[in-house]
Amino acid sequence: MDILTTNNLSVSYGNRKVLKDLSMNIMENKITAIIGPSGCGKSTLLTTLNLMIEENGGNFTGKIFFKDKDILSYEKDEIRRRIGMVFQKPTPFPFSIYKNLTYAPKYYGIKDRLKLNSIVEDTLRKVGLFDEINHDINTKATKLSGGQQQRLCIGRALTVEPEVLLLDEPCSQLDFKNTANIEDMLLKLSRDYTIVIVTHNLSQAKRISDYTAFILDGELIEYGETEEIFTNPKDNRTKEYIEGIYG
């Protein structure tokens, strides 16, 4: 079943068109990878899906449907709560781990200390930080390693119970081990969440995603099951891109 659908979606910043007539369905509880060369509009697609595009001075035409309802018929804040996002660079708040994870729940009215504690613990377990930080939830989040920071940020996005998680090259600044950590975690999370991940790393897309979309110069060239895209691309440009990186 599809949870997010775009219909002839075009996005532009001023006069510059970044995405052209993009139509795709994103499947529920699956990992969808978006690949393509730098500047092709991958990140723009993500920021459009949670309406952050308007904050950055862009605008879109065409339709986006979230759970079969026009995305614009929801409140902007509600969309952003239900469609979470994690950036390329880890962005922990310069507070304690505990405060990072209770920041959003407190906003949504959870005041009970026990409830907050259990949110923190659950989240830390989900992102595999619970044992690593040795229960020391008062450590400053900026003191964690890059990989831990990124997992904390994913955790923070989970504290508001989203349905979709948008990840913008979450591993591009991390080493191999941390990347593997995050990939494992995403595979586990995909049972409960729909994940859309933008990545430069083709082997990453191949390893973890169920579906892959290839974007080139703002156009969706090919979209389908990951296996199909990587073994039997229909479009020549997809083939060249995939082979170009490998060869």
Binding site: M52, E78, R81, G84, P94, A104, Y107, C153, A157
Partner: protein, 278 residues
């Protein structure tokens, strides 16, 4: 002339300028210390001014407390307005034009001579609004004077925050107001407090804005916001201007300069600790 000679001449010039400024500052401190230390004792710091003409004997306690009160009122008034203005320009203002108009106004305010601000305060607060010559009128006038200094520094701090941190709050579906109160201002807390203390020191040392709006030659420690008030810079001005007691004037100057020094040190320390964390 070869580049090498030019280079060393330039170096000498820079070192000499620095030395000259250091000497001037140390000379001022030393001179005031040398002349003022004789009058400093418990009675001077904790006593009321006495003698005829008043101030020729006794102490300056009401002036110390008055100055501190003035500083607090000015800081509260100015920082509320300054932080709000800075938050508006950085996070809410969508038009470049309005932003530059705000900047222009703030710069003009910073450039306004303080005696003019004093006259303005006298006309608006003392006469028109009927607040009288009081702690409140003088404090508010000082607040107007330090507003631009706080605004500029707070705005700079707010602009320096990593934009992606602010965005990570928005992508949680969290409102701008909550983001500002619970994330942005706490992150900038130390820088903001440091800006306020520095501006507070500036307010404390100013005589011109309070001459017409509330400072008097003698008053007890103010009991309410509408009482007139003694202040260190004004007391100093009267002691020397009227030729009452040069010795007491140096003592007053020493006390004032020591308080300002302490305030500045606090501000620097806060600022340094703020840097460490970011």
């Amino acid at each position: 002339m070869s580049e090498k000679i030019k280079d060393s001449l330039f170096k000498i010039w820079i070192i000499l300028s620095t030395l000259l400024m250091f000497t001037v500052v140390i000379y001022i401190f030393g001179y005031i210390f040398k002349n003022g230390i004789a009058s400093i004792n418990m009675e001077f710091i904790f006593g009321d001014p006495k003698g005829i003409p008043i101030g020729s004997e006794g102490g300056i306690f009401p002036a110390i407390i008055g100055s501190l009160f003035l500083m607090i009122i000015a800081c509260i008034f100015a920082s509320i307005l300054a932080i709000s203005t800075a938050v508006y320009t950085v996070f809410y203002c969508r038009f470049k034009k309005i932003e530059s108009i705000i900047h222009l106004i703030v710069q003009c305010m910073a450039g306004t001579p303080s005696i003019i601000l004093g006259l303005f305060g006298y006309t608006l607060l003392v006469l028109y609004l009927g607040l009288g010559r009081s702690l409140l009128s003088a404090g508010l006038t000082l607040g107007i004077m330090i507003f631009p200094y706080i605004e500029v520094r707070v705005e700079k701090t707010l602009r320096e925050i990593d934009k992606s941190i602010v965005e990570s709050s928005y992508v949680l579906g969290i409102s701008k107001a909550y983001t500002i109160f619970k994330l942005i201002l706490p992150i900038c807390k130390k820088d903001i407090i440091s800006a306020i203390t520095l501006a507070g020191g500036f307010a404390m040392g100013a005589a011109a804005p309070i001459i017409l709006t509330g400072a008097v030659i003698f008053a007890p420690i103010p009991k309410s916001l509408s009482s007139p008030v003694m202040a260190l810079p004004f007391h100093l001005y009267i002691l020397t201007g009227e030729g009452i007691s040069l010795e007491k004037a140096y003592g007053t100057a020493l006390v004032l300069i020591m308080i300002l020094l302490i305030i500045n040190i606090i501000s620097v320390v806060l600022n340094m600790r703020g840097r460490e964390h970011s």
